[in-house]
């Protein structure tokens, strides 16, 4: 077969793999022209979308956003495990935006199952999920899905490439493939002769990929160990390149000011003062704001601040209280979802009759309120763009290259193929960098200056006041306990739907159907409560919301687990025992995490005077996580002193990275629980920079121990599940210390926490 024919056929193979979820081995036809590093030069071969071999060596493609979670390292480890290459000796690149890099796990996670209980997959697939189904082919990093997605596919990519290289060696040596071994990027013949992969790749690219079995876990070299991260030296020497570090010849620097009334228009502006300021080259009208292009980012920022702008009003109520009143109104509507309805829930709040409850039943109810939150990634939003009339190049950290490509192409009036997205490392994502706004603004600026690359950097103030916020949320819980046992739990949750908004914003899909994410972390908790109902209510508000580390579980984790704690106390039970007893019959791995934190923390249910301890538990993203948090009263100010975490994601692919994610996820949750709030006044966000939106720091971070268990049946996520239980665990610890129950966050509103 001619080489062209081979390429065409294999390209097709990749196309079908994108539907079947298998791996395609074949020549990957890279769509972008040079200087894309993936384009196979003469003598180079892209063995499949994930393995590229040229004279310089071996490059593995990890097309997932590296935002700190270590995905490039573990993704590369999955390939290297089968390919027999040394991770320290290969290059790991993100690669271009491409359909071949779709996320196969995300759609499965959108099904309405509870996760820990597979039979629940038989539940009706809601209407909104039809929309999600259309999104197959998305190259997205999020939902803690990367390892679920890559675990089999990437090992297969490595194994198929290895065996094909061996086949090329076998043909060259006149031997049988089975006689050959591989090690350290070389094929080894029975007589000890070695041939480097780099010498065989071109021939291998013409060979039909053989069928390959994956290796047994017992023989793993990299997986299950702690692999030195591929990005660690760069990040310890200032040489790692983030989006904000992109430097191109002739590049200009730009600053942004967008309407603080989010979604509002701009009535007009006067830039005459700004235009004469030092270094300023252009002031650009963006419709909803302005950008200033200058020779230096700071000079651009100063000039942007000097532009006098007449802003249009926001399309939502201008004050926080009015916004929350609108969220509360959602309780009056019929629920958007009832994803759990076990037994027979009689809730007095629904007009249910409590008089008939059996004697000895204790009823309790609680309302909770959680604020809007900003992502506050350490690296402010930014993107660099170069527009040349018939093409557009974008450099930015992002969690969704194809969305970025589509959004920018649309703005520039170009075919998506004419838009090249270079995904850089990113200084934190936490869900913020799935949005295409930063690349879109950079595109607008670049279009005003064809031929000149422009880097548009947001000030921290612009970043914090123009987020897609974690929705503010309200909850109304009712429960009954009797004889120390949970009898009933009825939960109603109201918030804006980040899913509906994002589907509309990213894919133009209409908002419809039950939103699983809105009740995630509440409806799918593994508790054996006989009468158990969870309903979600969607608040209709035009305020930009998005996906914030752990998404729905970031509020539901607090609501659900805090209420369980309240039920335990109402029942007169030890809160850890109470949880364990309800969880053990439903999901043993979840119970295992609670058993483990009990042991690690030496939990007795009693604490000395001046010390409080709380337990928190949330099952999210397929991973149960239990945490115990300890607080100490030190001269009237409360310090978070110690924490114990146990998690179970089934297979611990990299222990060091998982430990880091668990601690980092917990600290992200504690930061929000202790200090995080976004409020509105006159339509604008009031918190503008870190002094108004502080977080846990070195002196306020607890000493932490992590246990990683492997009893879970399925591979769970790591990046997000550490966040949800931290918030209730801290609230529960403060209750233990002070007797005051926290039903609102942040806790610094009502407790004297150390700052």
């Amino acid at each position: 077969m001619s080489r062209i024919g081979t390429i065409a056929r294999r390209t097709f193979l990749i196309g079908s793999a994108a539907i079947l979820g298998g791996v395609a081995f074949g020549v990957y036809k890279v769509r972008q022209p040079a200087p894309n590093p993936l384009t196979p030069a003469p003598g180079a071969a892209a063995l499949n979308p994930f393995v590229l071999i040229d004279q310089q060596g071996i490059t593995l493609i990890a097309p997932r956003a590296e935002m700190g979670q270590g995905v490039h390292t573990t993704w590369a480890a999955l390939i290297a495990e089968e390919l027999d290459v040394d991770i320290a000796a290969v290059r790991v690149l993100h690669g271009p935006a491409a359909k071949a890099y779709y996320n196969s796990a995300m759609v499965a996670d959108a099904l309405p199952g509870k996760g820990y209980d597979t039979s629940e997959f038989q539940h009706t697939v809601g209407e909104a999920l039809g929309g999600v189904g259309k999104l197959i082919g998305l190259q997205v990093t999020g939902g803690s899905t990367s390892m679920k997605d890559g675990f089999i596919r990437m090992r297969q990519a490595g194994a198929t490439a290895r065996e094909t290289i061996k086949q090329a060696a076998a043909e060259r040596l006149g031997l049988d493939r089975a006689q050959l071994k591989t090690e350290n990027a070389q094929v080894i013949a029975p007589d000890g002769q070695t041939i480097p992969y780099t010498d065989l790749a071109e021939a291998a690219a013409l060979i039909d990929p053989p069928h390959v079995e994956l290796r047994d876990a017992r023989g793993w070299r990299y997986l299950g160990k702690s692999v030195p991260r591929v990005d660690m030296v760069g990040k310890s020497t200032g040489t790692a390149q983030f989006g904000i570090d992109v430097r191109l010849p002739g590049m200009k620097f730009a600053a942004l000011r967008i309407n603080p009334n989010l979604g509002g228009t701009m009535n007009g502006f006067d830039a005459s003062a700004a235009e004469t300021m030092p270094g300023v080259e252009r002031v650009i009208d963006l419709g909803t704001g302005i950008a200033v292009v200058a020779t230096n980012t700071w000079l651009a920022q100063q000039a942007a601040d000097a532009v006098d702008i007449d802003w249009g009003a926001a399309p939502y109520p201008p004050e926080t209280d009015a916004i929350f009143a609108r969220i509360a109104q959602a309780f009056d509507d019929k629920p958007n979802s009832t994803l759990r309805d076990d037994g027979n829930v009689t809730s007095p709040r629904d007009g249910g009759d409590t008089a008939t409850l059996p004697k000895g039943t204790i009823s309790l109810s609680a309302d909770y309120k959680l604020p809007y939150l900003a992502h506050a990634t350490m690296e402010p939003q930014n993107a660099t763009a170069l527009f040349t009339h018939d093409a557009l190049e974008i450099w930015c950290g992002n969690q969704s290259p194809i969305f970025q490509q589509q959004a920018c192409a649309k703005l520039a009036g170009l075919d998506p193929d004419a838009v090249q997205i270079h995904t850089t490392l990113m200084g934190g994502g936490f869900g913020r960098r799935g949005e295409p706004d930063f690349a879109a603004y950079a595109t607008q600026v670049a279009m005003a200056m064809p031929g000149t690359p422009v880097q548009l950097t947001w000030s921290r103030e612009e970043d914090m006041t123009h987020d897609y916020y974690r929705p503010g949320a309200l909850a109304r819980f009712t429960g009954t306990v009797k004889d120390g046992q949970a009898v009933m739990l009825d939960a109603r949750i109201a918030a804006q739907s980040a899913t509906h908004q994002a589907l509309n914003r990213w894919a133009g899909l209409p908002a419809a159907g039950p939103d699983k994410v809105l009740v995630d972390g509440a409806f799918n908790q593994p508790y054996a409560i006989p009468n158990y109902r969870v309903r979600g209510h969607v608040a209709d508000l035009d305020l930009p919301v998005g996906f914030w580390r752990s998404v729905g579980a970031s509020f539901n984790g607090f609501f659900h687990d805090t209420f369980i704690d309240e039920m335990a106390h109402a029942a007169g039970r030890d809160p850890l025992d109470f949880r364990l007893e309800l969880i053990r019959p439903v999901h043993a791995p979840s119970a295992g995490t609670l058993d483990t934190v009990r042991q690690m923390s030496g939990w007795t249910g009693k604490t000395p005077e001046g010390v409080g301890r709380g337990v928190g538990f949330t099952y999210s993203f397929g991973t149960p996580v239990a945490q115990v948090i300890e607080v100490v009263d030190q001269d009237g100010s409360i310090r978070i002193t110690r924490a114990w975490i146990a998690c179970d994601m089934g297979i611990a692919l990299d222990r060091s990275i998982i430990e880091a994610q668990m601690i980092g996820g917990m600290i992200y949750g504690l930061s929000a629980a202790a200090y995080g709030k976004i409020t509105f006044s006159d339509g604008a966000v009031q918190q503008r920079n870190f002094p108004d939106y502080d977080a846990i720091r070195m002196h306020t971070a607890p000493l932490t121990e992590v246990a990683i268990l492997e009893a879970n049946t399925y591979l769970g996520g790591a990046g997000e599940p550490g966040t949800p239980p931290a918030m209730p665990a801290l609230g529960n610890a403060l209750f233990d210390l002070t007797g005051t129950r926290a039903r609102e966050l942040p806790l610094s509103n009502s407790f004297d926490l150390r700052v």
């Binding site: 020497t237 983030f242 430097r247 230096n296 700071w298 994502g429």
Partner: protein
């Protein structure tokens, strides 16, 4: 307005207004992007460099006020020849997103220069201005102790 300054031992002459903060001179003029912008208001420490060995927030030092030789993360060590503190950072696998780490390392290096064997309380004091949204604090603490031990040996 031409100003002379020495960064990592190399003299530079830059043509920028006097009030441009050192951070933006380094990043946008000299092209040393290891020093990061996080807040611009002395609240995060991402921009930390050293002037004559003292850790300073480069977003708060105007070009005309730079009073001595500037050392940035690039001047501390290179990937092929890392300083002891950078080796400790790698050994403990500290970085997650890594964006705050240049500032953390410059701050920690200044701490160790002054306090060769810091206690946990001294680490708390010195490092609390350096925010890390990824929550790498426990490993930063461990890496500082390791670097201290290593520097004592040599």
């Amino acid at each position: 307005m031409s100003t002379q300054l020495t960064v990592n031992g190399t003299p530079h002459r830059v043509d920028l207004p006097d009030d441009v903060p050192l951070l933006w001179v380094l990043r946008d003029e000299i092209g040393l992007t290891g020093t990061k912008f996080g807040c611009g208001v002395a609240a995060c420490g991402a921009c930390t460099v050293q002037i004559d060995g003292e850790a300073v927030r480069s977003c708060q030092v105007s070009l005309s006020d730079v009073w001595g030789d500037v050392t940035t993360i690039e001047g501390l060590g290179t990937p092929d020849s890392m300083a002891a503190i950078q080796q400790a950072w790698v050994a403990h696998q500290v970085a997650q997103c890594g964006y705050c780490q240049s500032g953390q390392i410059m701050q920690a290096a200044a701490l160790l220069a002054e306090t060769p064997d810091p206690t946990d309380a001294e680490i708390d004091d010195a490092m609390q201005g350096n925010l890390c949204r990824c929550g790498t604090y426990p490993r930063i603490r461990a890496a500082i102790h390791t670097a201290a031990a290593k520097m004592k040996e040599t």
